[in-house]
Amino acid sequence: MVQTLGFNQILILLEAFRWTLALAAIAFVCGAVGGLGIALIRTSVFGVLRRAAATFIIVFQGTPLLMQLFVIYYGLPLLNVTVNAWIAVAIGLTLHASAYLGEIWRSTIMAMPKGQEEAAKALGLKYWDRTVYIVLPQALRMALPSTVGFLVQLIKGTSLAAIIGFTELTRAGQIVSNATYQPLIVFSLVGALYFALCWPLSHFSFNLEKRFANAR
């Protein structure tokens, strides 16, 4: 039975959009925690840990996100860990975000003028105080445009969850499209919802970049 595209179908899309938002938010927040850890390890004095973190980044930046989601979704059950699609995608996107955010923040931490850390050391401030009060406030501020830029990538990346069967916006679009035989209109709507979220963020990121460039 062919459904007509009406209010109910749009409601299905909007409900699924909430899952897209939730997925992006969880991946971003957990990825930020992971990324901060990666960035601090990458700039630490511990050679072995540094190399381990570098390997993690190389693997996650060097393989497609979809493949990472497959490996987690189909791989974890082999280790007798059963995960549903929601958990698998959340873990996959979190690891993905950790790798990218870690690398973005590492680069701004390392771009800090050497004199900042030296001044902090000379005042007797210990590593954590230097990191929390001197390094991170400046490095994260510098990284804000590229961080927001990555968030946009991440939001769009959540659409891959559709392929392993998690019903977020794109998967809901497939379902509605199959039921209504109106793929063009349905996927245009789906695209418009992504755009409504991503474009303001991109614009915000661009403005930040301009503002920081002027501040220099």
Binding site: P113, Q116, A119, A122, L123, G124, L125, K126, D129, Y133
Partner: protein, 256 residues
């Protein structure tokens, strides 16, 4: 009066800084060659010499911003070794840099309060009181709610001096504090440093400001190629330098 009693009492105690046969390399470059130096408590020392002679490296070894290959450095009775003693020494050794190195995301007041709160564990009220008094001292308390970028170079350097003083260090190190300043701002910073010299605090200053050296220094040290070539009280140093290289150097910087 106070500083005189302090000096005479201190002269009975241990020297503030001892460097014994310190060697330092940057790769193959021998930056410090068998440096021996003793600085008494309350002494004002000026270090000069051509660029690349190891002056900055020497004072940066004193608070372990640079490590050294061999030899011994003792500050305030604590031997510099990797580990906990470094933090203890850094609390007692303030440093002022050529490029000021103020924290740009903090106001002047916050710059001065951070270390006293985090390192000396003062409450914010105590730290603010200390910060205000030293900012007053360097005559910049009217700017204390501004950010460093809103200040001139000379003002920033005076804030950097106040920030170091807020830790009440026993030693102050100055690494070419006026070299990055526009000429019209040099005097305000030197005046501030001269006024500090009366406090009885040990001061080591890498500078080419020979007027400052004459006014303040108890002893002037000349370095070249990583070695201490000559040391003398300022009068002797400027009027009757013994070493040929010292004479050449003084001729170059005073001869115009």
């Amino acid at each position: 009066m106070n500083s005189i009693t302090k000096l005479s009492k201190d002269s009975l105690t241990e020297p503030m800084i001892i460097m014994e046969s310190v060697d330092k390399y940057y790769g193959a470059f021998h930056a410090l060659k068998n440096v021996n130096l003793m600085v008494k408590q309350g002494e004002k020392l000026v270090i000069c010499g051509p660029s690349g002679s190891g002056k900055s490296t020497l004072i940066r070894c004193i608070n372990y911003l640079e490590d050294f290959a061999s030899g011994k450095i003792v500050v305030d009775g604590i031997a510099l070794t990797k580990g906990a003693s470094i933090d203890a020494i850094r609390c007692e050794v303030g440093m002022v840099f050529q490029q000021f190195n103020l924290f740009p995301h903090m106001t002047v007041l916050q710059n001065c309060m951070l270390a006293p709160m985090k390192v000396r564990k003062m409450t914010s009220g105590q730290a603010e009181k200390v910060a205000r008094s030293y900012l007053e001292r360097v005559r910049i308390s009217d700017q204390m709610h501004k950010y460093p970028a809103q200040l001139s170079g000379g003002q920033q350097q005076r804030v950097a001096i106040a920030r170091a003083l807020c830790m009440d260090p026993k030693v102050m190190l100055f690494d070419e504090p006026t070299s990055a300043l526009d000429p019209e701002m040099v005097k305000e910073v030197l005046d501030t440093m001269i006024s500090l010299a009366n406090d009885g605090r040990t001061m080591i200053c890498v500078t080419h400001e020979m007027g400052f050296a004459r006014a303040v220094a108890d002893r002037v040290i000349f370095m070249a190629n990583g070695e201490i070539i000559e040391e003398a009280p300022p009068e002797t140093f400027f009027t009757a330098p013994k070493n040929e290289r010292t004479r050449t150097f003084l001729g170059q910087i005073l001869g115009h």
